[in-house]
Symmetry: C2
Subunit: 715 residues, 2 copies
């Protein structure tokens, strides 16, 4: 176990609160009620300046008066009192605090300074805190709930950490009705001290937690988050929602938790690299997270669909296939075994559609057994299993037929298969259910209480199974090895220092390529020529056909300006072009000469830096369509070669990587090595703000950087 | 009003059923119970061979014995009895029937023949029927429900038609709990006689219906559907889900309703052309359909977000912006008015985040009024309005504080703002709510009962508002004019007939271009030459630089085979190339010569035919990346020029249509005219099975077909 501060914070033996009283209309009181009423077995000490008792518990006038050092302090007081109280607890020896109070980093500079003061106190006294601007925590293992809503559902296995407090408070009754139970829930608020990365680490280590869901508005310690996620995701699945990617989302996130957001495509790439599964909505975050938490791993791609209704069957099959799973037709042997259990004309091939039938065991028990025993599938989705919900829904019509008997009497007349249906878990393969009936139906309740998720729409059940596949794919990745940043090549340092000393804002093309080459990136082998004679002899040295280009740090756009000549087939052509370039430039300008690189496949690669996010590698489709198609993907730097391979295959136009128009498939290993090496540069060269390599041409199978630009930070 | 058969079928004065008895375990009995118990005021006649009474109503031994001609017959009998009974009702004079029984077109050839027999009876006696293999109908206006589940929710405004019976039966209790009410619901089953297109027409004309949702597995009368949708969608919104687009979806649809499915991209294009909004899930179909049915139109793009919690606020803002709406920052004036109503540090700019507060009118009443009065927004989403649900959720904690008072007592102590909150409708602008509290909460129930939809996740509320925008965009389209197919050009007829007479399976390139030209499509002006002299003189006539190409019906792939030479700059070059082509072909082969068309922008266009769907136009990105990028869109033929403009702008790489690398923007009018004319061909030439134009090069601003192939249907 690490020294993660949440181990202590989530497992206190004693808790003190400040701001809880006897006025039920105050938030502090509601927090205290949850501690008192939800089963926490440790000691609880309300601190109150006036009351002798708070909610029936003896109250203490100040921190100093407490009879023991509380393990955890919870503060719900005006923002200007927080620092003083945190210090009091620090002095007392308390090591963990939850600061509910808002009005810190999220309100601007003044709040930011107050928040920094809290961190100073934390460092001074070794007291670690959650928040400020949060809603507290739930540890279902020890019945500890510090939020403002009761959590009466018992232990669960979904670990949840959120930059929104609402998602661990307002939503609790909703989650109860959906049968979703937290192992631990952690509202991190502004993440000023204990961050969402700490929560990820803690939940990754927590035995009770089988899957982790994260609600994210902007991560403060992004590099640590990535490394942490890479450690956790091979052990248990991590799902994340990110909402800061749009302008309005970023503005809202800033004013909500003071989070610095970054464009969506950067987070998207970061999640992919880190093995984090992306959730698009809070519903997916809860429900798919729950599926991952309660069901066994999916070990293949073949899914059976059993239904009593064709529409949901079609919808499930369609959504599964769109998500990358298969709905294989059953073998004739299996169909023959299923046939006697379903009506004569009902489809038996997968989906199996029982249509209207009165055998209550066929759909949930007997056919699933046949299907799993066959070995023909790796997972199962069922739709249309219902019992008491159906009777209740129809009761107004049935009542007279049963001479006014109460609904329970009618229910008792029906075969009770509810105990049997959950035995499906014995096959050890993932199963979930689609039903329009909620926990009012005893089948739905039985499934949920036995860890078989029930979704209120067929597409959601299919989506949950697709999410299982996403995690299977993550487990199939090569083991992660942290990337070590090698020593900076002397040539690179010298080049950069030289350019900076000369006051250049960027390297010229030749310098840029030499710089990249020193980092091991394949570039055009080129000569520089400053006069006609050198151009002529250089041309012969390089060989034909060749390219001749103006080269100066202040010349960024050569095409169309008469500063570049391609496909030069002779010394004479090259010399003429040299003269033309001088004319077009209107001054003496050096040229570079290199053998023309031929290939129909062009890509782009580069480095960008984003405030609050750090350096990223870009890779995408190049050539004249680059901007029109916007087919580019991003990954946080550095990348291992394995990371780079995944990144390369992530572009939409990935078929270009295979054999193409008589050319061999791209050597993706070479291309990945190129991106890996490129990704090291921003970490070794803090002075480099941006790199563009455009195009990277694939010559035969091998990538070559044909034009490049290295830009420095400010002057 | 049209002579749509559903007018009669959904509004009967009397109903007879066959297959309903006193055994509650039989489906027929459940159908009868719904007719009897849900408030239908007309006459009901059960037909039963043995019973004197069915469910307390006098039963009749046969159709002939009925005391009057029933307006509607409902059949739930074994499939071999259906035809005979339908004929009996036809003879009696009944004009409408619902055939619940399955085992017809969906089970294969034998069932198909039985289904055809039903249509013969329909034609003979003028009796129109719904189904077979359906679940009946609901007409909430006259309390008529023929499904197997009670529908006790009263009149609604969402019209629903479905190829799945489950979506108008099993889901009824779910819909009740979500506050969604049908105007009419129509289960069309196999659509053998009355189709989903008839349902669309009927719902389009029905005054009670304000929006239409369709669940589709495959449309039988696709051309009529498109024309119908174009008529209906300017009047009221139509939403559709289609699940037949994948292999498994298509297989399942076929065995479910005998529906012939087509690939997803064809339905996608058809929906867009017809102005139908696509729903991806049944939840969207219900909930977004309901939003469109109960809320006023969205007349702009500016949305306000009011919340008591930052997370949902960020999620809503982010999802709105991703969907094309804006979340504008409020003016200083408006913020100043809002400021006193919210806590000191709470964000007031949009989203407005009230955070924890005890003013129960601020979020649902007072701030919305300020916001709408300002004129700064066109719609509103609120999150976090709750009352009784919150108290109930917290009751286990509050009880002792209130000395064990019952939950109702505590509720009565709270300010009751529930009557006030629905007055928000008076602004006549679309509003919806996000809440984790269902109808157990009196605020949620009040909203739903007053036509203000409540969604159980923030992203769903945002999605519903985005769906409103989709409909606004559809209303902004130019008025639809049906496309008339002009007389076939004589030249086209003659060319096609000539090729067919010669036994050609396709036209050669030159013929193909002449054929397209006769239809008004711009092609390269070219000469054909069969010997060297003609090639030489032809080259001079065409002008340089030119292209010379082998041209024969059996030569389809010229690139790389030495059969095409580009950029020929002189007569000598052209003649040499002519010789090379003869050598490469290994036989005497004619060549075509045309002036080389120059332009960096290449597109493709074409015609495909799909069984069960008919002819479609394809348009996409061309050039060497065509297949790699797969950026193509499809629309059913024919297209008006307006249709074609929309289609052209639908490609991903649409920025290529603007000014590009020094070239002017594409003349989209010319390109649209080209696609319009292309789209007429398959309707005029049933013998043409496929057309490929690849590439269409944009020269300057104008499109030219540079290579083309016209293929005929089998020999």
């Amino acid at each position: 176990m690490s020294d993660n501060p949440l181990h202590r914070l989530l497992n206190p033996l004693s808790i003190a609160t400040v701001g809880s009283g006897n006025n039920i209309m105050k938030m502090g009181t509601m927090h205290a009620l949850s501690i008192i009423k939800d089963g926490f077995a440790g000691a609880y000490y309300p601190i109150h300046p006036k009351e002798e008792k708070v909610l029936g518990r003896r109250a203490y006038p100040s921190v100093a008066d407490l009879p023991e050092v509380p393990d955890l302090a919870l503060l719900v007081v005006p923002s200007d009192q927080v620092a003083g109280l945190l210090e009091d607890f620090g002095k007392k020896g308390t090591q963990s605090a939850i600061i509910i109070t808002a009005g810190f980093g999220e309100i601007g500079d003044e709040g930011g300074r107050m928040q920094e003061r809290l961190n100073e106190i934390s460092r001074t006294y070794g007291i670690r805190f959650l928040g400020p601007n949060c809603m507290g925590i739930i540890n279902s293992e020890i019945s500890l709930n510090t939020t403002v809503i009761p959590y009466p559902y018992g232990p669960g296995s979904l670990g949840f950490a959120s930059q929104s407090g609402t998602y661990v408070t307002q939503s609790i009754p909703y989650l109860g009705k959906k049968g979703i139970r937290f192992s631990k829930a952690i509202s991190v608020g502004n993440s000023a001290n204990i961050t969402i990365t700490d929560a990820l680490e803690y939940l990754g280590q927590d035995d009770q937690t089988r899957a982790i869901s994260l609600y994210i508005e902007g991560i403060r310690d992004i590099r640590r988050f990535i490394d942490m996620a890479r450690r956790v995701t091979p052990v248990k699945p991590v799902l994340a929602q990110y909402v800061g990617g749009s302008g309005a989302g970023a503005r809202s996130s800033m004013s909500h938790t003071g989070s610095m957001a970054a464009p969506d495509h950067l987070y998207e790439g970061m999640f992919r690299q880190a093995g984090v599964i992306r959730a698009d909505t809070i519903e997916e975050l809860y429900h798919y997270g729950n599926m991952l938490a309660v069901q066994p791993r999916l070990k293949g791609r073949r899914i059976a669909v059993l239904t009593n209704s064709g529409g949901p069957g079609s919808a499930i099959a369609n959504a599964l296939e769109k998500g990358g799973l298969t709905v294989p037709e059953f073998s004739p042997e299996l169909r023959q075994k299923i046939r006697p259990l379903i009506p004569p004309h009902a489809p038996s091939g997968n989906p199996v559609d029982l249509t209207f039938h009165m055998d209550f065991d066929a759909l949930p028990v007997n056919i699933p057994s046949l299907v799993f025993d066959s070995g023909e599938v790796d997972g199962l989705i069922m739709h249309g299993i219902m019992r008491s919900g159906f009777i209740k829904a129809g009761y107004s019509h049935f009542r007279d037929v049963f001479n006014g008997a109460p609904v329970e009497t009618i229910l008792n007349m029906m075969p009770d298969n509810v105990k049997k249906i959950t035995s499906i878990s014995r096959f050890g393969k993932p199963v979930c259910v689609s039903s329009f009936f909620d926990r009012d139906d005893d089948c739905t309740a039985a499934y949920e209480d036995h860890g078989i998720p029930v979704f209120d729409a067929p597409e959601k059940a299919a989506g949950a199974m697709v999410c299982m596949l996403r995690y299977t794919e993550i487990l199939e990745r090569k083991p992660w090895k942290p990337v070590t940043i090698p020593r900076t090549p002397q040539a690179a340092d010298k080049l950069a220092a030289g350019c900076r000393a000369r006051g250049q804002g960027n390297m010229d093309e030749h310098e840029s390529k030499l710089f990249l080459k020193s980092w091991g990136i394949p570039v055009t082998e080129e000569l520089i020529a400053r006069d006609e004679d050198k151009a002529a002899s250089g041309a012969d040295t390089v060989g034909y056909p060749l390219v001749i280009k103006a080269c100066a740090g202040d010349i960024l756009h050569k095409t169309g300006a008469g500063l570049i000549y391609l496909n030069q087939k002779s010394r004479e052509e090259a010399v003429a072009s040299f003269r033309n370039i001088q004319k077009a430039a209107g001054r003496r300008v050096p040229v570079i000469l290199y053998r023309m690189v031929k290939g129909d496949r062009e890509f782009v690669a580069g480095i960008v830096r984003t405030p609050g996010f750090g350096p990223s590698v870009m890779f995408g489709l190049g050539g004249i369509l680059t901007e029109a198609l916007g087919d580019a993907v991003f990954r946080p730097a550095p990348l291992s070669e394995d990371d780079a391979v995944e990144m390369i295959w992530n572009i939409r136009s990935r078929t270009l990587l295979g054999p193409f128009r008589g050319m061999p498939e791209v050597n993706v290993t070479s291309l990945a090595r190129m991106l890996h090496r490129l990704s090291l540069i921003p970490l070794a060269h803090p002075e480099v703000s941006e790199i563009d390599i455009n195009p990277v041409i694939i010559e035969g199978a091998e990538p070559v950087a044909v034009d490049a630009l290295v830009v420095f930070d400010g002057p």
